[in-house]
């Protein structure tokens, strides 16, 4: 449908980026996490920024209303970082809320209305017990026709998984490989929720069993561990616990400025050269149950705007809320042919040192998925990787110049995609 070529009114760049630690924090509210991310962003601006120069704020947030009982979260976040009375806009697109905040900020700067805008996201999910988190996330599906059929959020992705398995021969082992890879990357991310590989998780459980004099588990390797229903129980078959992103608290933000002033802040701005957003039907109403139409449409818009193709992208953060989602994402983005995403993961093509590194941050799977913050968290990773600042998880021996983030709301009702360039 989208044949119109869209372009930004003027160039836009990121000149700062920060995130809070992602995890479960009983003693912190969303506003505290927001301050943590904001402080790191300020310190990341190479030549410094006067926070008072920020003109407007976009805050991605799915449901502070249900998670925290707090509606109208925008002005509170803004207050806690000292930006009242600047205009603050909350964006909601389920788990793509952060991506929508970034897109809002990009469009606002590109329009010429503002020169300096904060794009941010925040979610505080761990106040609720798991059953109520499940209910809250299911509210992002069609409650009359999907949730009423018993579908949960993992359940909807599980249905995509069974359709993908039937159509392309994808297996549970493919899902496990995505999980193992993202945990390996996440082990190198000190901001991540898990911060440990599957192997490290196995070793620590063995050590604990030994300490307590319990029978030692007999796992031979990671697959053995992941096939053990006692440690990796089914959530919604074929989706198991280690296929799911966790329940997470966290915040992230980036500073979006007009291209003409970007070098006032840093000699290494990261330009946003493409932005795309699209929508899709409830899952049952789609022609293809193994692909997310909104991702394909948003990618088409972003690629055309940026003047690049899928094969030009050096690194991508994709929305791996479940392992099947990463496989589908890499197909929808055109990195691999339909049905080939699983094989690409199995062959290591998407590993940190592979031809197409995907989710070097650990992805939502390992880094954590504070739903409204995740889209901005992806931008933080691309910012660090393109600037060579990702520390031990930096993609090795590569001159990274083009990055992409792919942020999906629910099962793809919303998708926001951004393309980043270091010049």
């Amino acid at each position: 449908m989208q044949t119109k070529m869209r372009k930004l009114g003027r160039g836009v760049a990121l000149v700062g980026a920060g995130m809070s630690k992602f995890g479960a924090f009983q003693d912190k509210d969303s506003r505290d996490l927001f301050v943590e991310a904001f402080q790191e962003m300020l310190h990341s601006v190479d030549k410094g920024v006067d926070p008072n120069d920020i003109e407007a704020i976009y805050v991605g947030n799915f449901s502070s209303d249900l998670f925290e009982g707090q509606g109208h979260i925008g002005p509170i976040m803004s207050d806690w970082v000292g930006l009242i009375p600047r205009p603050v806009t909350r964006t909601e697109g389920a788990c793509a809320s952060g991506g929508l905040a970034l897109r809002g900020a990009v469009i606002a700067v590109a329009s010429g209305l503002y020169d300096i805008v904060l794009a941010s996201g925040v979610e505080k999910m761990t106040n609720l017990p798991t059953a109520e988190v499940t209910d809250t996330l299911a509210a992002a599906s069609d409650i009359l026709y999907e949730a009423s059929a018993g579908f949960t959020f993992p359940g909807l992705y599980a249905a995509i998984a069974t359709a993908h398995m039937a159509k392309y021969g994808t297996t549970i082992e493919h899902f496990q490989r995505v999980s193992i890879k993202n945990h390996e990357n996440g082990a190198l991310n000190p901001k991540g929720q898990f911060n440990s590989s599957i192997r490290q998780i196995m070793d620590s459980r063995m050590a604990r069993a030994k300490e307590r004099g319990l029978p030692l588990p007999t796992w031979q390797d990671e697959f053995d561990f992941l096939n053990d229903e006692a440690v990796n129980p089914t959530v919604a078959w074929p989706v198991k616990l280690f296929d799911c992103s966790p329940i997470t608290d966290g915040a992230a933000c980036v500073l979006v400025v007009a291209q003409e002033i970007a070098r006032d802040f840093t000699d290494t701005p990261i330009y946003i050269i493409g932005t795309g957003q699209a929508a899709d039907y409830a899952l049952h109403q789609r022609q293809d149950l193994t692909s997310i139409g909104a991702a394909r449409a948003a990618a088409q818009e972003a690629y055309a705007m940026a003047g690049v193709k899928a094969e030009d992208i050096h690194i991508a953060e994709v929305h791996d809320c479940f392992t099947i989602a990463e496989i589908v994402a890499t197909e929808d983005l055109g990195f691999f042919e339909p049905g080939e995403g699983a094989r690409a993961a199995a062959e290591g093509i998407t590993a940190r040192d592979g031809a197409k590194p995907i989710n070097t941050s650990g992805g939502l799977k390992s880094k954590g998925h504070p739903v409204g913050a995740s889209g901005i968290g992806q931008a933080v990773e691309i910012w660090q990787q393109l600037r060579g600042q990702a520390g031990p998880r930096q993609v090795p021996n590569r001159n990274l110049a083009l990055g992409l983030s792919h942020n999906v709301g629910a099962t793809g009702g919303t998708c926001a995609i951004h393309i980043y360039e270091r010049r």
Binding site: T134, D135, Y145, G150, T152, T162, V235, W237
Partner: protein
Amino acid sequence: MADKPFSHAYFEEYLKEKKLMAARCRHCGRLHLPPRPMCLDCRRLDMEWVQLKGRGKLAAFTCIAVGPTFMGQQGFGRDNPYCTGIVELEEGPRISAHILGVDAQHPETIQIGTPMIMDPVEWQEKTFLAFRPA
């Protein structure tokens, strides 16, 4: 007699009578399931209720061990998973529904493409769309 509104309330009312009802555009003939008041093709408000056969085949499914609060209240959970899925109807549209009469403890025994027949289920005085193998 005027048509009942093309809303979820009447979809569910028909379902209580074991009827799977869709909305069809009188102008262009497009069939809509779930029912809705406005045609997606011609955007007219000229629908009629039509009864579907309630037969189709399983297009996707899952067996859920960690369900929403409501399904927990019906006795489902870790030790008693339930199956839900997407059914492709003979008339064309697909719809999400509970899947009964399959072994949710052994999901590898459930096959996509299995012929299905509608059999609505009642929980807490509400009627839910459900199918079972035909």
